[in-house]
Symmetry: C2
Subunit: 424 residues, 2 copies
C-alpha cells in the first residue's frame, strides 16, 4: 500500500487540518469528502469534490481508507460499520464511538481484514497511543493518570488567574474552546470516553463509560483554586485508568474527578488547553507527556501520523486480538469510591465561636480522619473559613465525617472536598 | 524473524536490566554476554554463558542481534564494525560512538543489510526516538530543547534545596549518579553527544560534537539558584537542537548551556535525575516528554523496546538513507553565540557607593542592553549584590557590556551571566 486513496467524513476543524497537512504528501490522495452542508462557506483550500452522500465514499472501491472526523455516536457508527464491511481501513478521532462500540468495531474490522487507527481519539496531538504501543512495548503499564480535557483545563487555568467558574466558562465559549452546552466537558463525560480507550490500550479491556466514576468541575470556586495554591497545589481534573492485583483479583480503577496536584509536579505545569498524561510502566517508571489535546493542526497531526504509519506498514497491528472483553469499572470489577484511600482537601465556612476547632477535631477523630494541616481564615461577621488537609483517609470515613459535619450546629456552609494527588 | 537470538556486550547497570526484562520474553534468547572480568561478583541472575572474548559473539552465526551496552568510543567502535560486517543487527545505548561515528556506522550497516536501533542512547527510558520517528511522523521538527543529563539535573535540584555545587556533586557521586571524574556530565559533553544524535533524528544531519557550543554547570552557585527562584525561574542545563531558515540558508542552532526556565514551564518541573524534552513540530506545536533519563530498568526498557520492535518488524527502518551528511554546528553552518538574541540574568557584587546604578545603566545603554528588572540586595561592608534581568540582547552586545563592567572601578566580583529561556 505505497500510495493510498482516502475518503473523509467531516470537514470541520480537524478535517480542515487534515486537508492542510495532506497537501504536502504525494503518496496520499484525498479523493472525496462527505459533509452535511455542501454550500457552507469554507476557508480551507481543497481540491477534491465534496458530497453530502456518504455512500459516494463507502461504495467507492478505489477508496482504501476512511478518515472519520465527524464525531458523535450516531449516525457515525453505522457509517463506520458499512465502510469496514466494504473492507476499508479506518482512521478515526472519535473517542465516543470507540468507548461505546470499540469491541464490536475492532471485531468487525478483524472479520473483514482491515485495521482501525485511533491516535487522534485521545489527547489530540500528543502521540500517546504510539508511545504506549511502540515506545513502551517492553513495559507492563500499571496506570495512566492525566489531564485529558483541554476545555476544563483552560477553565481551571483561568480561574487560577482570578476568574469565577462562570466567567471562565464564558471566556472558553467565546474562544471556541467550549460548546454552548458544556456538559460533555465540564461533567467529565469526554474524559470518561478517553479513559475507556486508554484502558483498552494499557490494560487490554475497554471499560463501559457509564460505569466510570465521574465528578466534574462545576463546584470548584476560585477561592478553592487560591487556597489550594497557598498550600502548594493546583486543582486539576484528573482521569485515572489504573489496574492492580488485589488478593489475586484484577482491580480496574477507572475514574475522573478534581484532584489537588503539587505545584512542582509535571502535571501541575499543564496550562491552558493543553493535555498532560503520566504513564507508569514496570520498567520505565513514570513517563509524562504534555502537549496540545485538541485543535486543528495538532489533532490533524495525529490523524496524518496514523495515515503515514498505515501507508508504511507491511504488517498492520492486530488490535482485535490485543483487546480483551469489555469490562465494567465499578463496582463489579473495581473498588468503589468508599474504599479509595487518599488525602483530602476540605473547605468549610463555620460560625466563628470558641471551641469550633475542637468540635471539628472530635468529629474527624471519631471517623479515623487524621488531620495534616488546618488553618482558619477571614474571620468576619462571626463566620470563618477553615481549610483542612488530611492524611490518607478511606473514602467511606471521609464521607461519614462530612455527613456529621453537615449535621453539626457550627457549620454554616460546606464548601468543597477534593482528593489530593499521590504518586503512589 | 519471529524468534531472535542475541549476544550482548557489557553486563553493567543497563546490561543487568536488559537480562531482567528479557527473562519474561520467550521469543528472545540471550545466548552469550561478553564482559571484561568474568570473575566479578554479580547480583543479577542470568542463565547464559559469559565470555571475555568478544569474538565468541561476533563470530557466532546463530546470533542475529548484538546488544551493545558497554559504552565508550574504543574499543566499542571496532566491535560494532566487526558485528555489522558479520550481518548482525545492532541495538545500542551508546550516544558517544553514534555522535562521533554515526554516519560511518549507519552506512556500513546499510551496506551489509542490517539496522542499528538506538532508542536507549538518548534520554534513557523516555521513548524520544520512537516518538519523533513514529508518533510525530506527520511533523517537520523545528527544534528539540531539553534537559538531557540526569546527573547535572540532580545536582541542580540539590542546589535548589540549599546545597553548594561541591556538596551536591559529592552527594551525586556517593549515590552513584556521578562519576569520580564528572567532566563528561558537568561540562556538557554528554549532552553534546545526545544533541548530535537528536539532530540526526530531527534534522537528518549528525552534528560534529566538538563543534557544539558548550557551557557546563561548574560556575553556578546556590545563590544564583535562590535568586533565579525569587524572580520566578529555575536554572537548568538545557540542550538545544534547532534548525531554521535564514535568508534561504539552513541554520543549525545546536548548543548546551545553563538557562533560566520559568517556574510554571513544564521543563522547570523536571526534578532530580529525570530528563525532560520539548519537541516543536509544525503541526503538533509543542510536545513535552518527561521521564527517567538513566537507570537500570528505564534504560533497559528502551533497549528491550528496540528488540521487540526489531523482532516484530517485517520492514526495518532505513536510517542510513534517512540521515544526510554530517555537519558542523558552529560557526560554519550555525549562528555563533555572538549572534544569539535572548534575555539574560546577571549577578554582580559592587562597591556600595552612590551612583553605581547610574554607571551600570550607562554601560548597558551604550551597548544596547535594555534592562527589564534590577534589584540591589544584601548591602553590607560597603558592598552590595545586584541582580539584573535584561530584555532581548545580542550575545555580542552582552559580552561587550560584561567586558566594560569588568574594567569598571565599582565592580568587586563578577558573579554570573546566564541566558533566560524563551519559548519562541
Amino acid at each position: 500500500m505505497a500510495r493510498v486513496v482516502l475518503g473523509m467524513l467531516g470537514l470541520g476543524t480537524v478535517g480542515s487540518g487534515v486537508v492542510e497537512l495532506l497537501a504536502k504528501h504525494r503518496h496520499v490522495t484525498l479523493k472525496k469528502i462527505a459533509v452535511k452542508d455542501i454550500n457552507k462557506v469554507r476557508t480551507t483550500e481543497f481540491s477534491c469534490p465534496l458530497t453530502t452522500n456518504v455512500n459516494d465514499i463507502i461504495d467507492d472501491p478505489e477508496i482504501e481508507v476512511l478518515v472519520e472526523v465527524m464525531g458523535g455516536e450516531n449516525p457515525t457508527l453505522s457509517y463506520l460499520e458499512q465502510a469496514i464491511k466494504k473492507r476499508k481501513h479506518i482512521v478515526t478521532a472519535n473517542k465516543e464511538v470507540l468507548a461505546k462500540h470499540g469491541p464490536h468495531l475492532f471485531a468487525l474490522a478483524k472479520e473483514h481484514g482491515v485495521t482501525i487507527f485511533f491516535e487522534a481519539s485521545v489527547a489530540g496531538g500528543v502521540p500517546l497511543l504510539s508511545t504506549i504501543h511502540k515506545g513502551l512495548e517492553a513495559n507492563e503499564i500499571s496506570s495512566i493518570v492525566g489531564i485529558l480535557n483541554g476545555t476544563t483545563n483552560f477553565i481551571l487555568s483561568s480561574m487560577e488567574a482570578g476568574k469565577s467558574y462562570e466567567e471562565a466558562l464564558a471566556e472558553a465559549q467565546a474562544l471556541g474552546f467550549a460548546e454552548a452546552d458544556p456538559t460533555a466537558d465540564v461533567d467529565g463525560f469526554d474524559v470518561a470516553y478517553k479513559l475507556s480507550v486508554l484502558s483498552a490500550l494499557a490494560h487490554r479491556h475497554f471499560v463501559k463509560p457509564e460505569t466510570i466514576y465521574r465528578e466534574g468541575i462545576r463546584t470548584i470556586t476560585k477561592e478553592d483554586m487560591a487556597l489550594a495554591k497557598e498550600f502548594g497545589y493546583r486543582i486539576k481534573l484528573l482521569g485515572t485508568a489504573g489496574k492492580r492485583d488485589e488478593k489475586g483479583k484484577e482491580i480496574f480503577d477507572v475514574r475522573v474527578h478534581p484532584t489537588l496536584v503539587p505545584l512542582e509536579h509535571p502535571l501541575a505545569s499543564v496550562s491552558g488547553s493543553n493535555n498532560g498524561i503520566l504513564v507508569k510502566g514496570h520498567a520505565v517508571g513514570e513517563l509524562t507527556l504534555i502537549g496540545p489535546g485538541a485543535g486543528k493542526l495538532p489533532t490533524a497531526s495525529a490523524v496524518v501520523g496514523d495515515l503515514m504509519n498505515l501507508a508504511g506498514a507491511l504488517k498492520l497491528p492486530d488490535f482485535a486480538s490485543y483487546f480483551q472483553p469489555v469490562i465494567e469499572a465499578s463496582p463489579a470489577s473495581a473498588t468503589p469510591p468508599d474504599e479509595w484511600k487518599c488525602p483530602f482537601y476540605l473547605r468549610l465556612v463555620v460560625n466563628d465561636t470558641p471551641g469550633v476547632i475542637g468540635k471539628l477535631g472530635t468529629i474527624f477523630g471519631a471517623n479515623d480522619v487524621s488531620i495534616a494541616t488546618i488553618i482558619q481564615r477571614d474571620a468576619q461577621d462571626k463566620e470563618a473559613t477553615i481549610v483542612i488537609l488530611t492524611h490518607d483517609v478511606l473514602g467511606r470515613n471521609m464521607n461519614q465525617a462530612i455527613e456529621e459535619l453537615k449535621k453539626s450546629d457550627f457549620l454554616k456552609t460546606f464548601g468543597n472536598a477534593f482528593r489530593i494527588f499521590r504518586s503512589a
